[in-house]
Point group: C2
Chain length 365, copies 2
């Protein structure tokens, strides 16, 4: 059978190993496994969300309100934007997909090392991918390539996954001043809650962004700080001209009834977010200390993970060593880096990782 | 800003009105509203599913096992196919989307009155839509048009939504014998559980289908008989050549962690399915009686809904009359039919509908 020839050019996204797989492959018990591979919230979902899920479980047979009225109202008051400036997706991933299909770009510009789905979705419409030479975001490089190649879509990941670095708002806005209003700039703020908590200079407010730059779309997610990775809810915020086009592509009922309920409840629980951010940066400090004590290079991170560059050892060997002992981290070898990305966990999870990591370092001397 | 010109040709799917909207628009209380518009299971999800959802609510922060290993194992043993012959989607809708993107057809053939998403997804890749002259499936018409136009994709909805009629397995297989192995035939079995329970001649077993016709894909869903409309889980079953191509398009984590758990549990609860089917056809008889008593035409239905053709009254007037009294049904005016589609509800829901329907008929004499 003949298929769309574009499929031949597509690679499949390699997700962080799920606990279930490690249980199967290594015969470990699920309870003993620590997953620090997918930047999930180690504190879990808010207790209020878990309660709401239990109370609404009996609605599983009913399709959600496909207008997502209540969630859009909540996001609208949270960000001070119009409900018509919001689109809901099955994770912010799906908003990326909508953007790419809506623009059908021939060229897309992104950082060399950034979220893999940008490239995967862009290739699915046959776009040429142009990457900056530097791994992390270098806006001077972005600008030079932009002027030379005129891509119709630009991705900025602020802060950047999987490296953790973060552009300042001022830098971003100065860059955007120089971009044509016909170029769609996708500003992925999946980890913005963390960046904004660590350094106000990093905070990008969707309202200000889209008012000043009507060619931009801000992506947010409930998967990270809001602790709903498993529920698949994200959103895009942009001026109505963009949102109305994306809505034409959105399939009906693209999030579940329980996801809708979880997201609305999560947004209300400020206390859980506060706790999440506090744990994250207290524990991040321990990861920085551990790196410094062991001669490991890292980029200061504005997210809920830290990326270690391994000069003296191999990331495959480290990942495998940890995996066999029930700790899942993200090997960045597939990004061409001898590095690992580790999600900041709970104090006890992190302590166990440090202990086993030390064993590994000792064993590999 | 310039967008993909295909967007100008797209219409948005009009979902059945959610209860929330009727609450807002008519000031009715949510409890007093009966929704018979979206073919959800009126008995709800299985009690075992609801229990499982409650017990797993605390996993909302964890991404699902993206291989969907456990669900594929369950479906594999349920249908006697290989796990590699299965793909999981956010509803079977999403499998339709994967198929259309994977084939990128220039022409698509379907019945005149069938599931609206076939046309919407096909148009999203710029395909020309060819429909049979008859509203319901007429395979002679399909064959003639197929020979004339050579479409790369054919949709068969067995049984058909929104009309409820159902082709015999033998008819379908005889038709498929005459279709080129390079044409992808999408056999949508969203309501197959109902059809198979009513008449064994209608039952299409995915294993037999794909063994005999490797150019076919069978679509199944957990949204109807399995009572998980709100959880968005469907699947496609086809030979590996087709599935491997569709997998290249599937975004990671396309169903939620709780949806995965719900689907696995639902598939195991044979008793709930039994109850669901029994209620459906006992109550369907009352809908047929009501129609006969009131001179309303209908097509015998092999699904969990019945479509009434209104010769003497107007479907807009009826839908509005019921809506104002808290009963939501599906007006088929947008399909060009003066007809309504009513989901078979619980005994008390159906009784209330009959009473108000009678009032309407009396008032409109």
């Amino acid at each position: 059978m003949k298929f769309n020839p574009i499929l031949d050019t597509l690679q499949t996204y390699e997700a962080g190993k799920p606990i279930e797989l490690v249980v199967r492959d290594f015969g470990l018990s699920a309870d003993s496994i620590i997953k620090l591979a997918s930047n999930e919230n180690p504190l879990g979902a808010s207790p209020k969300v878990i309660q709401a899920l239990k109370e609404n479980a009996h609605l599983a047979h009913l399709y959600p309100d496909d207008s997502y009225y209540a969630l859009k109202e909540s996001l609208s008051s949270h960000y001070g934007v119009l409900t018509q400036e919001i689109i809901i997706g099955a994770g912010s991933d799906q908003i990326i997909e909508f953007c790419i299909h809506a623009k059908a770009p021939s060229k897309v510009l992104m950082a060399k090392t950034t979220f893999a789905m940008y490239e995967i979705y862009s290739k699915s419409v046959g776009a040429k991918i142009i990457k900056t030479p530097s791994d992390s975001h270098n806006l001077q490089e972005f600008l030079e390539i932009y002027k030379l190649h005129n891509p119709e879509v630009i991705f900025l990941c602020v802060p950047n996954n999987p490296l953790g670095e973060c552009l300042d708002k001022t830098e971003v806005f100065n860059f955007l001043e120089q971009i044509s209003k016909d170029t769609l700039v996708i500003l992925d703020g999946a980890y913005q809650e963390y960046a904004a908590a660590k350094d106000k200079n990093k905070e990008i407010k969707p309202k200000e962004l889209i008012e000043r730059f009507p060619n931009c779309i801000y992506l947010g997610t409930f998967s990270k700080a809001y602790g709903l990775g498993g529920m698949r809810v994200g959103y895009g915020i942009a001026k109505q001209e963009i949102i109305s086009h994306l809505l034409k592509i959105r399939p009906p009922f693209n999030i579940t009834t329980l996801s809708l309920c979880a997201a609305i409840t999560a947004l209300e629980d400020k206390e859980h977010i506060e706790k999440t951010l506090q744990n994250n940066f207290l524990q991040m400090q321990l990861y920085e200390d551990f790196a410094n004590q062991n001669g490991i290079r890292f980029i200061p991170s504005f997210t809920n993970f830290i990326t270690y560059f391994l000069d003296k050892t191999d990331s495959n060997a480290l990942s495998e060593y940890l995996l066999q002992r029930g700790i899942i981290i993200r090997n960045l070898k597939s990004y061409g880096l001898n590095a690992v990305r580790i999600t900041i966990g709970t104090p006890s999870q992190n302590q166990r990782l440090f202990n086993i990591f030390k064993e590994f370092l000792k064993a590999s001397v």
